[in-house]
C-alpha cells in the first residue's frame, strides 16, 4: 500500500514565505470621479488569461503588451464603481510594469467618470475570486488625511467610500456653495439685513430733500455688514465646533425678534448706529447658521475646512445681496417718497413679520408663514 503523500511532506507548515495573491488598487478622487492605478500580479493573470502564449514558461513584456486589451477587459469586468447607486465608467490606459516584493505586476492606469459624483461611492470587486480563494483586493483611497484602505475578499467584496474621500478642493467648493445657498434661502437673515440696509446712509436730522452722496451710504453699509459678519462668524464657529451650544428654539425665536428690533429701529431710531444691532443680533444669527451646518453630511476629517468654506460661502452670498441691493437703495433714497412713505411702511411690515415669526417660533405653532 502506497501513499501519494508521505508524512514528512505534510509537515511543510513553515513554508510559504511568499504571501498569497493580492492586487493593489489605488484611487484618488477628482471632480468627475477618480483616477487610479491597479496593480495585478502577472503570476495571477497567467492562469486567468494565459499570458505565456509561447509556452516557454517565461512571461515577457512582449506577451503582456500584446495582450493588453484582454488584460484590461478581464480586470474591468470584475470591478464596479458606483456613485450614489449609479454606475461609473472606468477606462484603462496603457499598462506599465512595477516590480513589487513578490514579483512583477502589471499597472493599469484608470480613469473613473461618474455622472453624479456624490458620496457615497461603492466599489464591488471580484477579480480572481473564482480561481483563487485566497486572493485579496487591497484598495487604497487617497483622502485629505490618511488614506482609507480596504482588504476585499470573496466573503467581503464591497467597499463603501465615504465623503471623507473628496479632495480638499472639492470639499471647499461644496461647502462654500452650501454657505451661499443657505443665506439665499435664509429669509430671516435676509430680512434682518435688509432692515438694516434700507435706511443706510440716512439721518433723521437731515432735511428730507437734501442730496446725499455715496459716502455716507457706503460707510454705513460697510460698518453694518462687517459687524454682522464678524458676529455671525464667531458664533458659527463656536457652535459648529461644539464649544457653545444653545437651544435651537431660543435661537430661532431670537432671530425673529431681531427682525422686529431692526424694523422698529427703521421706523423710530434711524439715527442710532446700526452696527451695534448688527453685531449683537449677528451673534444669534451665527447660531442659526450652525444649526443648518449640523444637518449637512460633513466629512469628519476636515471639519475646520468645511466650516471655513461654509463661512466663505455665507459671506459671498451676503456680499451678492448687498451688491444687488445697494444701487437700488441708493436710487430709491433720492426720492422723497422713499423716506417719507416707503420706509415707514416697510418698517411696519418687517416688524410685523418679525412678530409673527417670533410668535410662531416661540410658541412652536405654525401660522403658515
Amino acid at each position: 500500500m502506497r501513499f501519494v503523500v508521505l508524512m514528512l511532506l505534510l509537515l511543510a507548515s513553515q513554508a510559504y514565505a511568499h504571501k498569497p495573491s493580492d492586487s493593489y488598487l489605488q484611487l484618488s478622487p477628482t471632480d468627475r470621479g477618480f483616477t487610479g492605478e491597479w496593480r495585478i500580479a502577472l503570476r495571477d493573470l497567467e492562469p486567468a488569461i494565459g499570458l505565456d502564449r509561447d509556452g516557454d514558461r517565461k512571461i515577457t513584456w512582449g506577451e503582456v503588451r500584446t495582450l493588453h486589451n484582454e488584460i484590461a477587459s478581464y480586470a474591468l469586468t470584475r470591478l464596479t464603481i458606483a456613485a450614489s447607486g449609479s454606475p461609473c465608467d472606468i477606462r484603462a490606459g496603457t499598462q506599465l510594469v512595477d516590480n513589487l516584493s513578490d514579483g512583477a505586476y502589471t499597472v493599469l492606469p484608470l480613469v473613473v467618470t461618474c455622472e453624479r459624483n456624490v458620496a457615497p461611492w461603492s466599489l464591488d470587486y471580484s477579480l480572481l475570486f473564482d480561481i483563487d480563494a485566497t486572493h485579496r483586493g487591497l484598495i487604497s483611497l487617497q483622502g485629505p488625511d490618511a488614506p482609507q484602505t480596504f482588504a476585499l475578499s470573496p466573503q467581503n467584496n464591497r467597499a463603501v467610500l465615504s465623503a471623507d474621500a473628496a479632495s480638499p478642493v472639492q470639499q471647499f467648493v461644496t461647502m462654500a456653495r452650501e454657505g451661499v445657498w443657505h443665506i439665499w434661502i435664509g429669509f430671516d437673515h435676509i430680512l434682518f439685513l435688509l432692515a438694516l440696509l434700507l435706511p443706510a446712509g440716512l439721518r433723521a436730522s437731515r432735511a428730507l430733500d437734501e442730496k446725499v452722496g455715496w459716502a455716507p451710504l457706503l460707510k454705513d453699509v460697510l460698518t453694518l455688514v462687517t459687524a454682522f459678519t464678524v458676529a455671525h462668524s464667531i458664533t458659527l464657529s463656536l457652535a459648529a465646533l461644539k464649544i457653545v451650544s444653545l437651544p435651537p428654539r431660543l435661537i430661532e425665536t431670537t432671530i425673529a425678534l431681531s427682525i422686529v428690533v431692526a424694523g422698529l429701529r427703521m421706523r423710530y431710531a434711524i439715527s442710532r448706529p446700526a452696527a451695534w444691532i448688527a453685531f449683537s443680533f449677528g451673534l444669534i444669527h451665527g447660531f442659526g447658521f450652525a444649526n443648518v451646518l449640523a444637518d449637512l453630511q460633513l466629512p469628519t476629517g476636515s471639519l475646520a475646512l468645511s466650516l471655513f468654506a461654509f463661512n466663505i460661502g455665507v459671506e459671498l452670498g451676503q456680499c451678492a445681496i448687498v451688491l444687488l441691493a445697494l444701487p437700488l437703495i441708493r436710487y430709491a433714497q433720492r426720492h422723497t417718497f422713499y423716506q417719507r412713505t416707503f420706509m415707514p411702511a416697510a418698517a411696519v411690515l418687517i416688524a410685523a413679520v418679525g412678530v409673527a415669526w417670533s410668535v410662531e417660533r416661540g410658541a412652536g405653532i405654525s401660522l403658515g408663514l
Binding site: F3, P20, R57, L96, A151, A304, L316
Partner: protein, 412 residues
C-alpha cells in the same frame, strides 16, 4: 488652517485668506509610491511560471475533476513554495469547502489545506470525520499523526502511527514511529531502528527515500551527529526532485554549521523559493556580504506586503527575522510565543528560548522549558540554551554517553 480672519473691512477681502488656505492644502504631498515603468524591450522576462502549472479554468464542478485538480495544485504548492496554488486548490473545492458532509476525498484534501494554513483545529476536525467515514484510511491517519506531532501531542501521534501497522507498509509505519519517539527521549534508539529498516528495505520509491533520509537527518542533527546528518541530507537531496521543505530544512542545517556560502548558493540555484530568502539573508549578514542590506530590505518588504492583507499570522520564520535581522528581541519573543501556541516542534521551542534570552525575559520561555522537560525532547541546541534560563535540562532519560560529541560552541 482655521484662518477665520474675518475682521476685515469688506466681505471681498475674505478671498485672500481663502486662496492662501486652499493653496496650502493643494500642495500637501499626496502618497508617494514606486514608479511603474515601461520595459525596454519585448523580450524582457517579467515572470516565470513553474512547470506543471495549469491555466485555471472554472470548468465543470464534478467531484473527480475537482479533486484531481486540487491534488495537483497542492503538489505544485509544495514543489514551488508558492501559496497561490493552495488558493487554487481551495477554489477547486469551493462547492464543498464549507460542507460538513463533504465526500471523503474532499475532506482529506481540505484537511491538508487547513493544515497548511495553520488552521490545525479545522484540519483535525476534518481528519476525525474522515476516519469516522473510513476507519482504515491510512492517509488520514498519517496526516493526523503529522499534525499531532507538530503540535507536540506525541502520545496521540504515537497512537496514530501504531495504528498504521495494519494499514501501511512497515517502512511507513517505522518512519512515523521513529519520528515521534525521537521527540520523546528515545532519539538514538529511534534512529537505529529506522536505519535498520531502511537498509533492510533495499529499493524504495524516491519520495519515500527522501522522506526517510530527512527523518534520519533530523534525528542526527538533534542528537549532535553532524557528519551523519550531512550524509543523510545529501541522500535526501539526491533522491528526488526539489521541494520546499527539504530545501529549507537543509538550509537551516547549513546555517548551523556555518556553511554560509552553500546557503547562498542554494538560494541562487532556487530563487523562486521565498523561504530561502530568510536563510540567505542570514548567511549574507553572517559573512558581511555586500548584498545583506538589500536582501534584508526585500525580506522586510515581503513581510510588510503580507501584513497589508490583514490576515498575517506570525510564524517561526517571522520571529527569526525579527530577532536575527531586525534585532528586535521583544517583538521576536511575542511572535515566537504566538507561534508556540499552535506549533511545538524543536525549532519552535528554540526560537522562543533564543528570543527570551535575547530580550532579557527568560521567564517567558518557562512553558517551553517545561514542555521540553516533560517529554524528554532531545535537541543539543536546546540543551545548550536551557541552562541559561535557569531551568534544569532534561535529565531523566539521558544516557551520559550521548553528550560526548557536543561541539563546544554552536551558534545559529
Amino acid at each position: 488652517m482655521t484662518c477665520f480672519n474675518n475682521s476685515t473691512v469688506s466681505p471681498g477681502r475674505h478671498l485672500l485668506p481663502a486662496a492662501l488656505a486652499f493653496l496650502c492644502i493643494a500642495l500637501l504631498p499626496i502618497h508617494v509610491q514606486a514608479a511603474p515603468y515601461r520595459p525596454a524591450a519585448d523580450a524582457v522576462v517579467l515572470a516565470t511560471v513553474p512547470a506543471g502549472a495549469r491555466t485555471a479554468t472554472t470548468g465543470p464542478r464534478d467531484l473527480q475533476t475537482a479533486v484531481a485538480r486540487a491534488s495537483a495544485d497542492i503538489e505544485l504548492a509544495r514543489a514551488s513554495g508558492d501559496p497561490r496554488y493552495l488558493g487554487y486548490a481551495q477554489s477547486a473545492l469551493a462547492p464543498w469547502w464549507n460542507a460538513k458532509e463533504a465526500p471523503l476525498s474532499v475532506i482529506l484534501l481540505r484537511a491538508q489545506l487547513h493544515q497548511h494554513n495553520h488552521s490545525f483545529a479545522a484540519a483535525l476536525a476534518d481528519l476525525d470525520r474522515a476516519l469516522v467515514l473510513d476507519p482504515r484510511n491510512a492517509q488520514a491517519r498519517l496526516t493526523r499523526a503529522a499534525i499531532h506531532q507538530v503540535q507536540g501531542n506525541y502520545a496521540a501521534a504515537a497512537a496514530d502511527c501504531r495504528s498504521l501497522a495494519l494499514l501501511a507498509e512497515p517502512l511507513v509505519t517505522a518512519d512515523c514511529m521513529s519520528r515521534v519517539s525521537s521527540h520523546r527521549g528515545a532519539a538514538r534508539g529511534a534512529y537505529r531502528k529506522l536505519l535498520a529498516m531502511r537498509d533492510r528495505a533495499g529499493e524504495m520509491e524516491l519520495r519515500q527515500r527522501r522522506e526517510i533520509e530527512l527523518t534520519l537527518a533530523d534525528i542526527s542533527t538533534r542528537i549532535g551527529e553532524v557528519e551523519t546528518a550531512r550524509q543523510h541530507f545529501d541522500q535526501a537531496l539526491a533522491a528526488d526532485g526539489v521541494d520546499t521543505y527539504t530545501l529549507l530544512t537543509f538550509a537551516d542545517f547549513l546555517l548551523e554549521q556555518r556553511e554560509y556560502r552553500q546557503v547562498v548558493e542554494l538560494f541562487e540555484r532556487h530563487p523562486e523559493h521565498a523561504d530561502l530568502l530568510l536563510r540567505s539573508t542570514l548567511a549574507s549578514r553572517a559573512t558581511n556580504a555586500a548584498n545583506a542590506g538589500p536582501l534584508s530590505q526585500r525580506l522586510r518588504e515581503q513581510y510588510a506586503a503580507h501584513q497589508r492583507r490583514g490576515d498575517f499570522v506570525p510564524s517561526r520564520d517571522y520571529a527569526r527575522f525579527l530577532l536575527d535581522i531586525e534585532g528586535n528581541a521583544s517583538a521576536a519573543l511575542d511572535a515566537a510565543l504566538f507561534n508556540w501556541k499552535s506549533q511545538r516542534e524543536p525549532a519552535d521551542a528554540l526560537i522562543v528560548v533564543r528570543a527570551a534570552i535575547a530580550a532579557g525575559r527568560p521567564a517567558a520561555a518557562a512553558p517551553v522549558a517545561t514542555f521540553v522537560r516533560e517529554h524528554g525532547l532531545e535537541d543539543v541546541r536546546l540543551t545548550q540554551l536551557l541552562p541559561l534560563l535557569r531551568v534544569p535540562a532534561p535529565a531523566p532519560f539521558e544516557h551520559p554517553a550521548q553528550h560526548k560529541r557536543i561541539p563546544s560552541e554552536r551558534r545559529i
